[in-house]
């Protein structure tokens, strides 16, 4: 009796999980499958595999859309922003964790306050600021915004990291004649790789996918990032399904592949803020 009950529970459990698996995967399958169909097949055979690979949609995307340029812009903005976030946050976290000075605690909380408030609520003043600095319609506007947005969480993670290391580590280096800068560079930095990876992955997703700030700050076609470029393309080709799904597939798949390669890291990184907080 008990065994039977357990067996039934097991079946119900797997049924739920498999259902959710289908709910997640099937829409993505439809996206990819439709991108290879013809307009006719979209209507005659909406659910299954494409009968043969029709690359017309991808050709339209490639010819009529500056996807290569959008990718370049997205990569440029993401890489520079991540680099700045990490560099500035390492320094700030080091200053907060390894030095005692009046106002240390207050400063730490000042940084932390930015973790819970979405920066987009300040978009009007950013807009005004970038108009004044003549950075409107400039990728630098995005980089500066993303860097500021990333600092609170990285400072939080990295300060936590420094706090966990034994104090003697840096002190020993300093007794050996290292100044604090050399101690950071040669003693701490090599140990920080896991914490830096967590911070980088945490910020990679929102920066790479961001649509809001490009929508407000970028006007020229050659400066568009992937989400903004895809949005314009989507608007123009809404009724041509294979083409529009080809564009969406082109935009989604590379990041998705990157995720699948390092899923463990991503899950750890993206949940880190929540769990550690």
């Amino acid at each position: 009796m008990w065994m039977l009950r357990r067996r039934i529970l097991q079946i119900v459990l797997y049924a739920f999980l498999l259902w959710q698996l289908a709910v997640v995967i099937y829409p993505l399958f439809i996206m990819v499958a439709t991108s290879f169909k013809t307009n006719f097949e979209v209507l005659s055979n909406p659910f299954g595999w494409p009968q043969k690979l029709n690359l017309e949609g991808y050709r339209t995307v490639w010819e009529l859309n500056n996807f290569a340029l959008y990718y370049r812009n997205s990569i440029l903005v993401t890489v520079v922003s991540l680099g700045l976030i990490l560099a500035l946050s390492i320094l700030a976290a080091y200053g907060l964790a390894r030095f005692q000075f009046p106002g240390n605690r207050a400063l730490y909380f000042y940084f932390l306050a930015g973790m819970m408030i979405p920066i987009r609520l300040g978009v009007l003043n950013l807009f005004r600021l970038f108009l004044k600095l003549d950075l409107f319609d400039n990728l630098l506007a995005l980089i500066l915004t993303y860097t500021a947005m990333g600092i609170p969480f990285s400072v939080f993670i990295l300060t936590g990291f420094f706090a966990e290391l034994p104090r003697e580590l840096g002190e020993a280096a300093e007794i050996d004649g290292c100044n604090s800068w050399r101690a950071l560079l040669h003693v701490y930095l090599p140990l920080m790789r896991p914490a830096l990876a967590t911070a980088a992955i945490y910020h990679f997703i929102p920066i790479w996918n961001d649509f809001y700030f490009p929508l407000v700050f970028i006007k020229s076609d050659h400066l568009k990032t992937i989400p903004l470029g895809t949005a314009i393309f989507y608007g123009q080709f809404q009724t041509d399904w294979p083409t529009v799904f080809a564009a969406l597939t082109t935009a989604i798949i590379p990041a998705l592949a990157f995720y699948l390669l390092m899923a463990g890291q991503f899950i750890k990184g993206l949940t880190a803020g929540a769990v550690k907080g």
């Binding site: 979405p118 009007l124 500066l144 500021a148 609170p152 998705l256 929540a274």
Partner: protein, 301 residues
């Protein structure tokens, strides 16, 4: 700690401090100031005191749009709590059992979190399309035609449909948070309760759920912050007019329309937009502070 010069920490702190202050803290608090001005985005700004708030709260059509968006936003939040977070708790409990392919399930459930909100919105808009969309066609095949509807064109169903899409994308995050919370509960509490004769059902209500209260609080506050600043999913599925008939308009879309677009007929009104952003800021900040206060009280208890 070794003796150090007083200026030394500041060498490390100043760069991040400058960036963060100029491009984040100042713009955020500057929104509060800007809500006292009349500004179209170009030309001079005129000080008007609380006039923007008076218009927002009291003067039609602004107040109708504002309270409509506020209620829709609350509804969006409640729908997300059920469709996303309650469901996530169920899946986290299931995944915490000894099951095969656990890692595979986790990887797939989490995958949409890494995608662009905009793209997910576009994909689902096409899937929910009333004439060609797969969703209605599947319902027809399963002889559930009566459930098929023009989801995004129906005033009653558009917001729930968008909340579902939003939950579809982000459910992986609360699943992982609940899962981490469940795995942190010491096994011996369960053992003791089992010896006392508790079944799985009462184990969940008496141990798992109470132990998860901090995680539930965290998930709730993150959902609230996300929902009260969301924009992309509605922009992707219903455009900036948040149709049909403003039934999916939330504070984020109302803010964008007011401050940046002239789609609704009126020229951009940055002052009124700043007033809306200030309301969003206040809601989020109060919720976060309330949550901190509750957390502090719980921890000291």
């Amino acid at each position: 700690m070794l003796k150090k010069k007083a200026w030394e920490p500041w060498v490390y702190l100043v760069p991040a401090l400058l960036f963060y202050t100029i491009f984040m803290a100042y713009p955020l608090f500057g929104s509060l100031a800007m809500s006292m001005y009349k500004w179209s985005g170009l030309g001079p700004m005129t000080f008007v005191g609380l006039e923007n708030f008076r218009r927002l709260f009291l003067q039609p059509p602004f107040n109708e749009r504002f309270f409509n968006a506020l209620w829709n936003n609350i509804e969006f939040f409640l729908l997300t709590m059920v469709l996303q977070n309650a469901a996530a708790l169920l899946f986290a409990v299931l995944l915490s059992q000894k099951i095969r392919f656990s890692n595979f399930f986790r990887t797939v459930f989490f995958a949409p979190v890494t995608m662009s909100v905009l793209m997910v919105g576009f994909v689902w808009t096409l899937l929910l399309n009333p004439s060609w969309g797969v969703v209605n066609k599947l319902l027809t095949i399963m002889h559930l035609d009566f459930l098929a509807k023009p989801w995004l064109g129906d005033e009653a169903w558009a917001l729930p449909a968008i909340a579902f899409v939003n939950a579809w994308q982000f459910i992986g995050l609360p699943i992982m948070m609940f899962l981490a919370g469940i795995q942190a509960i010491p096994e011996d509490i369960y053992e003791a309760a089992r010896i006392d004769g508790c079944n799985e059902w009462s184990l969940f209500w008496r141990i798992t759920l109470p132990q998860l209260v901090p995680v539930i609080g965290m998930v709730t506050i993150l959902t609230l912050v996300g929902n009260f600043s969301s924009f992309e999913v509605i922009y992707a599925m219903e455009g900036t007019l948040a149709g049909p008939n403003y039934s999916t308009d939330v504070l984020g879309t109302l803010f964008y329309r007011t401050a940046f677009s002239s789609l609704s007929g009126a020229p951009p009104d940055m002052g009124l937009g700043a007033a809306i952003a200030s309301v969003m800021f206040t809601i989020i900040a109060m919720a976060v502070m309330g949550w901190f206060w509750l957390e502090a009280r719980r921890r000291s208890a």
